[in-house]
């Protein structure tokens, strides 16, 4: 079977009708793009686009050719209207991508020729990339990259006149091989393309609901977070990791209470960060998952602000830019410290405020403690903690609270989770005359022994209190720990299980699997997503360049890419010569003789050729005659030339010195 095709086509390169296989593949590509974007498109748009694509495919398969402009234009207007109605604008990441995906699917309606398919594929590649702007996790990246396969296969099918007869498995093969072969070059380019130190234009708007810690502690507000098992941050320590009971990551310090919610209150930002005394500190590296927020949870007390962040007066840390991508930083934390030993009067005032008319019974209780213990503030704290320990229980599904949440919780339901405990404990302390505040952040985390890092999940979100004690400064008290020590000792998941809950994070083996999977994700987010300009500068360190600047990187990029392409070019140009070892030696002899001016003619046999050479070079006559005889004997006296005669011939060829004949 030869590939001959009897059809004669007009040489009009653009007007080629699109084959059926190519159209199938194009539809598949478009479907893939819609699928990849489905997570952030409104469901009805996804469904409508899928229906349009499917309908067009069916239409074309059953012989329909062109779709009238009368159908296409209203659909376009409909898409435009839908996007504007849904998002209110055309610009920005979400409406932009929705519009792009919609246009892409509508392009199918007017795809009849090869040219349309090519444009569609190019646009689809762009849409695939834009999907990664929403989610660049490992799974999403792999999934999106798979979209290149149908896209490029479409291009092949457009070129291939025999596409319809090809089996599907054969259709993928060239593109799959091409993609695999292009991995080295793309990895190299990825490593060395100089990163921008600052964006050229705006960063993507968050749009989606922030799933990180919220700067507000309100009833039930943390519950979503505490059942969210996605990673929030990963921490590696320079030394051994601190024990679980010291793994408190402070994010927000809240001192304003309005009766239902705690908020950080108005910061007087002019105030310098409160002073801290500490004996020793531990260094650690953290990589924070994007939160679309600026707050950076820091291990207990940051001694200095990491790069690109600001230390706030209450010693929480705010990034200078919103965390829209994985952020890596190095910081130092003091775990034994004395925070703000002398309290500013304004701060003291702020941290004693209580809303009017809230928690009369709680106030009465606290005042009774204050009267009983007088100046022994530590005893007041102990009394409150003892009360929690005695008859309160930890649950993630507490009974709903009435309007006065403090009194209702303390005297009625007596069950809840960290939010309830921290909130009411702080209330009690303030009522007893002790400056107190609520702190939220993360507590605990999963220590991944194999990979040596601490994985902090969103479900590790926690709230606790800080009470200012004379001579000790702000001291952390965790009323939740008084109720359920496992919460602090073992972590959120264990606490939920111990309290009789069935473990909302699933059975143990599943958690184990997730922890393993997280190692992979960790590798991805640190090694790939977190590969920023800083890490890139260190790339050339093994080669003696400490801080590679853009020029260095560009040079390495250019040289390396050229080298890789040259290697590939060698593969492309290389053609295996026909023949065996004897032929190879003969070719070498021919080269030698042609340098000396005796060129073997087409169709000239070896005997004749060597005889002619011997006539042209009388000085080498004997050697050439011997060569001729050796060759003829090796070639024609046996079915296969024996190795020893090949090597003998080779030796003779090497020994021959062919001198140019002077005529």
């Amino acid at each position: 079977m030869t590939g001959f095709r009897p059809s004669l086509r007009k040489r009009v390169s653009t007007g080629l009708p699109l084959g059926r296989r190519a159209f199938d593949l194009l539809t598949l590509t478009m479907g893939f793009v819609v699928l990849v974007h489905a997570l952030h498109l409104p469901w009805w748009l996804t469904a409508a686009l899928a229906a349009v694509a499917g309908g067009r495919w069916w239409h074309r398969r059953h012989g329909g050719r062109k779709v009238a402009a009368l159908i296409r234009l209203p659909l376009l207007a409909l898409l435009l209207a839908a996007v504007i109605l849904r998002y209110g604008t055309m610009f920005g990441r979400e409406p932009g991508s929705a519009f792009a995906v919609g246009l892409l699917v509508l392009k199918l309606l007017e795809t009849d020729e090869a040219r349309d398919a090519r444009v569609g594929v190019a646009f689809a590649c762009f849409a695939l990339m834009s999907a990664l702007l929403f989610d660049q996790s490992l799974v999403a990246s792999i999934f999106v990259s798979l979209g290149l396969l149908p896209a490029l296969t479409t291009l092949c099918a457009v070129e291939d006149p025999d596409a319809e007869q090809r089996r599907w498995s054969m259709q993928w093969k060239p593109v799959l091989l091409a993609l695999l072969a292009s991995v080295p070059l793309s990895v190299f380019a990825f490593l060395f393309i100089p990163r921008l130190s600052s964006p050229l234009w705006g960063t993507p708007d968050s749009g989606q609901a922030a799933t990180g810690l919220s700067p507000q502690l309100s009833p039930g507000g943390m519950l979503d977070l505490m059942t969210d098992d996605t990673p929030a941050m990963r921490v590696t320590f320079d030394g051994p990791p601190p024990p679980n009971s010291l793994r408190y990551f402070r994010a927000y310090v809240m001192q304003l209470f309005d009766g239902t919610a705690w908020t950080p209150g108005s910061h007087s930002t002019r105030r310098p960060p409160s002073d801290v005394q500490y004996a020793q500190r531990i260094g650690y590296h953290a990589s924070i998952e994007p939160t679309h927020d600026r707050i950076v949870p820091m291990l207990d007390l940051p001694t200095t602000a990491p790069q690109d962040t600001t230390l706030r007066p209450d010693r929480t840390v705010q990034a200078n830019r919103r965390i829209d991508d994985t952020v890596n930083f190095t910081a130092f934390a003091a775990t034994r410290y004395r925070l703000e030993p002398t309290l500013d009067d304004g701060v003291r005032h702020d941290n004693l405020q209580l809303p009017m008319g809230v928690g009369p019974r709680a106030r009465a209780l606290a005042q009774s403690w204050a009267q009983r213990y007088g100046d022994d503030h530590a005893a007041i704290v102990r009394a409150a903690l003892a009360m929690f320990h005695a008859d309160f229980s930890y649950t993630l599904a507490p009974e709903p609270l009435d309007r006065d949440r403090i009194d209702d919780f303390l005297f009625q339901t007596k069950q809840g989770y960290c939010e309830h405990f921290a909130s009411s404990f702080t209330f009690l302390m303030r009522a007893a005359g002790l400056p107190a505040r609520v702190v939220t952040g993360y507590q605990g985390g999963y220590w991944n022994g194999g990979a040596h890092y601490l994985l902090v999940r969103r479900s590790d979100a926690h709230a606790w209190s800080e009470v200012w004690l004379e001579g000790q400064g702000w001291v952390r008290f965790d009323p939740t720990a008084a109720v359920r020590p496992e919460r602090v000792e073992l972590g959120a998941a264990a606490a939920a299980e111990a309290s009789g809950g069935e473990g909302w994070l699933g059975p143990a083996w599943l958690r184990e699997l997730r922890n393993r999977w997280d190692v992979v994700n960790q590798w991805w987010s640190r090694g790939v997503i977190g590969f920023d300009s800083l890490r890139q500068q260190g790339l050339l360190r093994p080669f003696g360049v400490d801080h590679a600047d853009v020029t260095d990187l560009a040079v390495v990029l250019a040289v390396g890419c050229s080298l890789l392409v040259a290697i590939a070019l060698g593969w492309a140009v290389f053609q295996r010569r026909e023949g065996d070892a004897l032929d190879a030696w003969m070719r070498r002899l021919e080269r030698k003789l042609s340098r000396a001016g005796v060129v073997r003619r087409t169709g000239e046999g070896p005997k004749h050729f060597l005889a002619r050479a011997a006539r042209a070079m009388p000085a080498q006559r004997n050697a050439l005659e011997r060569l001729s005889e050796l060759y003829l004997r090796s070639r024609y006296a046996h079915d296969e030339p024996p190795p020893e005669s090949i090597s003998e011939f080779g030796r003779a060829v090497r020994e021959l010195t062919a001198r140019r004949v002077v005529k």
């Binding site: 090519r118 990664l132 290149l148 070129e159 292009s182 997503i529 590969f531």
Partner: protein
């Protein structure tokens, strides 16, 4: 204007052969190798490269490494497709020219054998005479590419300059190689549309010579004068009288003696096309004919070989 362009091209080809990259005639088979394969991005390839730059800037701007990785992968695949495109043509062997016979004014069908060593090639296109052919080559079996050439004049028709090209695999790059094979196709003379039959000279020596037919038509009774060798002796033995095998007698046809000099008052081309028509008619009608030309004589004969010899002689008349 066109002629000036053609002259310029011809001059450039003569003076700067390495620049024009158009090949002089060369004998078949032609092996394509890297020094005669050219490659440039197509319009789509340029468009995609612009898109890649846009994607690159976007990914860098949002410092989105996953998007950057995807862009790099697509870019590397595009670069790789350049090499695959080159390999589509590299090592192809073009040889084995065959052609039908055609008369001037008709189209002549020419076929070339293209063989590719070792691995299959897809979507190769051959531009010949403003038409494009798409074909593939499998290892081991040569593919035959057929195309038609307009044969305007009798005589040797040179193969036109052809272009073998491909956009495989992704249409991003076009590889091409110019072929100018030194192959010739013979075009027979145009055949006169109307005209008189050839003059049959009187007293032809062949006239009346009994012509034995081949087929047994029937048996009949003997009539005096029937040749003895036509008597069916065996059958007659079982019969009253002699029976004679009546052989089919094809209508006696005169041999045509076609002579260049016998046609008067016409120019050479007309004479040639008239002679060609006679030769053609004689061949079609199963006659025997001879042909006398000023520079040669073809004795009385019939059959394909004779026909082609005569037509070739006519075609190649100066």
């Amino acid at each position: 204007m066109a002629s000036r362009g053609a002259r310029l091209l011809a001059w450039a080809e003569r003076r700067l052969p390495s620049l024009t990259r158009l090949r002089p005639r060369e004998p078949l088979p032609i092996v394509l190798h890297r020094r005669r394969i050219y490659i440039l991005p197509t319009g789509f390839g340029l468009g995609l490269s612009i898109l890649l730059v846009v994607m690159l800037v976007g990914a860098l701007n949002y410092s989105n490494n996953a998007a950057l990785g995807l862009t790099c992968l697509l870019g590397a695949a595009a670069v790789g497709s350049m090499l695959v495109a080159f390999r589509t043509l590299n090592g192809l062997v073009i040889g084995g020219l065959r052609s039908d016979t055609a008369r001037a004014g008709e189209q002549v069908r020419v076929s070339l054998d293209v063989s590719g060593p070792r691995y299959a090639r897809t979507a190769i296109r051959l531009d010949a005479d403003a038409r494009e052919q798409v074909f593939g080559v499998q290892p081991g079996t040569p593919s035959t590419v057929e195309f038609h050439l307009d044969a305007a004049h009798r005589g040797w028709l040179d193969l036109p300059r052809m272009r073998l090209h491909s956009r495989w695999p992704m249409g991003l790059f076009r590889v091409w190689s110019w072929l100018h094979p030194d192959g010739k196709v013979l075009v027979y003379p145009r055949i006169e549309a109307f005209g008189p039959p050839p003059l049959v000279p009187d007293g032809d020596a062949d006239r009346g010579r009994p012509r034995a037919g081949d087929e047994l038509a029937s048996l009949r009774d003997y009539r005096p004068g029937d040749p003895r060798r036509q008597i069916a002796w065996k059958l007659s033995a079982r019969h009253d009288g002699l029976l004679v095998k009546d052989l089919e007698q094809p209508a006696p046809q005169e041999d045509w003696r076609l002579d260049w000099d016998a046609i008067h008052g016409l120019d050479d081309e007309t004479r040639i096309s008239r002679l060609a028509r006679w030769v053609d008619e004689a061949h079609e009608g199963g006659r025997r004919w001879s042909l006398r030309l000023p520079d040669g004589y073809f004795d009385i004969a019939q059959g394909d070989e004779h026909y082609h010899r005569c037509m070739t002689a006519l075609a190649l008349r100066p």
